[in-house]
């Protein structure tokens, strides 16, 4: 992509993000989304040879595609074999990697300084209204952030640690501690004892906290609390962002069981447990509730990213309440490809989706020895 065009599109997507209402009150502006998506596709078709080859193979080009739903989607497994990027080598300052799971090679996604800023803007713009709907000052006192990830600098290839850092930069009231370290083999090790002590201190002060962590980090914390026979009562207004995935790194709990255990050991009500869905191939994230609300859990992406649930048989979008593979078209993916086909199974619900149990995901991947 011509650098100017990249910068210009980055600016326009940022403007789209800033202009989007935080919550849907009227139908999304599909025409504006479509127009920007098609322009982005044309730019990515020109600048990303791997994407151009796939699109051409599938008979799609900027001349033929008129609807964003017809854009060729890149399967996440393909990021393990090929580089899908619009960025020239010199501009690539950050590389996110998938955790690799059992397939050996990780998927790779590159960012430049400018696209990282867009990544931050997209992440913060949807994190805020879901985790901190009252604003950063909740319950009359400054909320303290505790990230169960490592420091972003210690895990430079983790999009989650990067996002936690960006959120912390924007919403923190004081320096944020990151409570995992990265072992030599790349695994994250939670300082459960240190975190527990810090949470006890916060509880003593009566200041609400906001925890961010993966499901397996939370299980490690819960196991520590159970072994120590501790039940914390975090101050009213405390909340937690949980992002799925165990990857064999801890005992696996179903989501209801995890939520039950979090309520039991940390004193967090279900209304304050917010599920996040994200991946390094996407610059935007979905959340399954607004902190403090008790509505049924449905994951929703922001207006600049659209999720569709596709029938694996026909490739077409399924009807309301039906299940299929989740595909996401994310305008904030200026740096890579905007249309991504995930390996996650989801049920189409209203204007969002419900993730099917992680086992479904594990099965799909278990059969997958791709790129090994």
């Amino acid at each position: 992509m011509h650098p100017d065009l990249l910068d210009q599109l980055t600016d326009r997507v940022r403007a789209f993000i800033e202009g989007a209402a935080p919550f849907r009150e009227a139908p999304y502006d599909d025409a504006a989304f479509n127009a920007l998506a098609l322009e982005l596709f044309a730019a990515q078709f020109a600048a990303a040879p791997a994407y151009r080859a796939l699109a051409t193979h599938l008979g799609a080009s900027p001349e033929t595609v008129r609807d964003w739903r017809d854009l060729p989607a890149v399967p996440t497994a393909a990021f393990k074999e090929l580089v899908f990027t619009t960025l020239p080598v010199a501009a690539r300052c950050r590389e996110f990697r998938t955790s690799g799971t059992t397939t050996g090679l990780p998927g790779r996604v590159f960012h430049s300084a400018a696209t990282l800023e867009l990544y931050a803007a997209s992440g913060r713009a949807w994190f805020g209204p879901h985790l901190l709907p009252e604003g950063a000052r909740a319950g009359g006192a400054c909320l303290r952030l505790f990230s169960l990830t490592p420091y972003p600098d210690a895990a430079p290839h983790s999009s989650l640690a990067c996002m936690a850092g960006m959120v912390a930069d924007r919403f923190r009231a004081e320096p944020v501690r990151f409570w995992s370290r990265v072992r030599e083999d790349g695994a994250w090790v939670l300082d459960a004892a240190g975190l527990t002590a810090a949470l006890q201190a916060a509880a003593g002060e009566g200041r609400p906290v906001c925890l961010l962590g993966t499901a397996y980090s939370l299980v490690h914390l819960l196991e520590h609390l159970a072994a120590a026979g501790l039940r914390l009562r975090l101050p009213t207004g405390s909340r937690l962002m949980e992002t799925g995935g165990y990857k064999g790194r801890s005992r696996e709990l179903s989501r209801p069981a995890l939520h039950q255990a979090l309520s039991d050991r940390l004193g967090l009500p279900d209304t304050h447990l917010v599920g996040e869905y994200g991946m390094c191939e996407l610059a935007s994230q979905a959340y399954d509730r607004i902190c403090g609300q008790a509505r049924p859990r449905i994951y929703r992406f922001p207006p600049w990213a659209r999720a569709r649930v596709l029938s694996p048989e026909t490739g077409r979008e399924v009807g309301e309440g039906e299940a299929g593979l989740l595909a996401v078209t994310d305008l904030a993916n200026v740096h890579a490809v905007l249309a991504v086909l995930t390996e996650d199974l989801a049920v189409r619900r209203d204007d969002g989706f419900e993730l099917l149990g992680r086992t479904a995901r594990a099965e799909a991947r278990g059969c997958s020895l791709l790129a090994a």
Binding site: A77, L82, P312, E313, E343
Partner: protein, 457 residues
């Protein structure tokens, strides 16, 4: 037709099973065996089994009809696919083939009936009698019925009381087979029990192990290891772990007049039991250098799978299985977009069948359900290097070759460790005398009594 409630698996609520019921069932089986089975002659038992098999081949047979009516919903195979699989199985279950099995594994048709001399010995100075286990317990896995049905046949031949514990949702065909045996000879069926419960239900299983003399189990390596640890000492254990299979096509079979026949045979192997068995191919290795390129074989195979879909449809899939196929297809489409060395053929508008062609010999187990790899290779060495990670786990190689080439390839495959080589198109149809995973299936079930005669003269 409603089946009478005769076996535990006929009960409407398997959750109602208790350990005491399992113990009672085992004791009844053993008593029935003593009364009805222990003294039967092998020739009679073979006649009864062959008669049951013949019944199943008749279109009007009520058990067959019930299998084809209820099988698609219970097991996921379409009725024509299920019928083809049952026909292959029961047409091989003849008196002649069963006598060949006994003769092969035990060296004499009357080995289980009386003390008989070793036919191979120079003099009849030693006689021997083979005994089956008193109570043979089967633990089955998967929806493919053949291994379970064949195990029941072996247990009848060894005059064992038999308790078959089926994996959840898979007891239909063993149950129907047992009912059909009951129709032919109620006394034989009185020595068989079929039950179904989720694996790992320890109170029921512990009651079962306590009564067993021999446990014959199929499943994954971890399942088998866990099961084995829980058996009381003194109970024999025969475990059949997961295996995989592939096909090999020699270049001389790619002539214009042979290629369609070979590709059609390969398609039958993929379609049989929807590729779900250990004997089903995960890939066909096709030699380059023939009259047609390996890619052409893949293309004709795709056309054959499409044709079979019309006559023997695969049937609907659970979401996760269909998603695995869709995910793999989309991945190979990316590869195909980047290299002419990868090509993809797919059923239109469904996941019914998929052919992936690659110049990449390493074997990736597929997600089955008629998803097959075709891999071009220079020769057998390259193919065997590609499957080396699965050495020791390969069951069957379907081989298409002729003449001395066929013999040389078969010998090389045998020495490498393949336990069964058969013509392409017959991968899912082993004869009853098949040595399961390289072991004599009947021979492994028995114990022997040797009688050494005093020297004469």
């Amino acid at each position: 037709m409603d089946l009478p409630r005769y076996f535990l698996a006929d009960l409407a609520h398997p959750a109602a099973l208790t350990p005491a019921m399992i113990t009672d069932a085992c004791l009844t089986l053993k008593a029935n065996r003593r009364r009805y089975l222990a003294d039967r002659a092998t020739a009679d038992l073979i006649d009864a089994l062959a008669s049951v098999a013949e019944d199943w081949l008749a279109p009007a047979n009520p058990y067959r009809r019930l299998a084809l009516e209820e099988g698609p919903r219970a097991l996921g195979f379409s009725a024509p696919t299920l019928a083809a699989g049952l026909d292959d199985f029961f047409s091989a279950l003849t008196g002649e083939n069963l006598r060949a099995l006994v003769a092969q594994d035990l060296a004499d048709l009357q080995r289980l009936d009386q003390l008989t001399p070793n036919p191979a010995g120079p003099r009849a100075d030693r006689l021997a009698l083979a005994h089956g286990p008193e109570l043979l317990v089967h633990v089955t896995a998967g929806r493919l019925p053949n291994p379970a049905l064949m195990s029941l046949v072996l247990g009848v031949l060894t005059r064992s009381a038999q308790f078959m514990k089926c994996a959840s949702g898979t007891s239909l065909l063993p149950r129907l087979f047992a009912h059909s045996l009951r129709e032919v000879e109620a006394k034989l069926a009185a020595c068989v029990e079929i039950a179904e419960w989720p694996g790992g239900t320890e109170p029921l299983e512990d009651a079962l192990w306590a009564q067993a003399d021999c446990v014959l189990a199929m499943g994954g390596d971890a399942t088998l290891a866990a099961l084995r640890r829980r058996l009381p000492s003194g109970v024999r254990f025969l475990g059949y772990g997961h295996r995989l299979s592939f096909g090999y096509v020699a270049q001389e079979m790619l002539a214009n007049h042979t290629l369609p026949r070979v590709a059609a045979a390969a398609a039958r192997d993929v379609a049989a039991w929807n590729q779900l068995g250990c004997l089903s191919p995960h890939a066909f290795y096709v030699e380059a250098g023939g009259r047609n390129p390996p890619e052409r074989f893949a293309e004709v195979l795709a056309a054959e799978l499409d044709r079979l879909e019309a006559t023997h449809p695969r049937g609907p899939l659970p979401l996760a299985d269909a998603a695995a196929i869709a995910t793999r297809r989309s991945f190979y489409a990316v590869r195909a977009a980047h290299s002419p060395d990868t090509r993809l053929w797919c059923s239109a508008g469904s996941t019914a069948w998929t052919v992936v062609f690659e110049y990449f010999p390493r074997l990736h187990p597929t997600c089955a359900h008629r998803f097959i790899h075709v891999k071009a290779v220079a020769g057998l060495d390259e193919a065997l290097a590609g499957v080396d990670a699965f050495r020791g786990q390969v069951s069957t190689v379907g081989l298409a070759a002729t003449g001395t080439r066929e013999q040389a390839l078969a010998l090389e495959l045998a020495r490498w460790g393949v336990s069964r080589i058969c013509p392409l198109g017959r991968m899912q149809c082993p004869p009853p005398a098949w040595r399961h995973d390289g072991r004599p299936a009947l021979g492994d079930l028995v114990r022997w009594t040797d009688w050494e005669l005093a020297a004469r003269g």
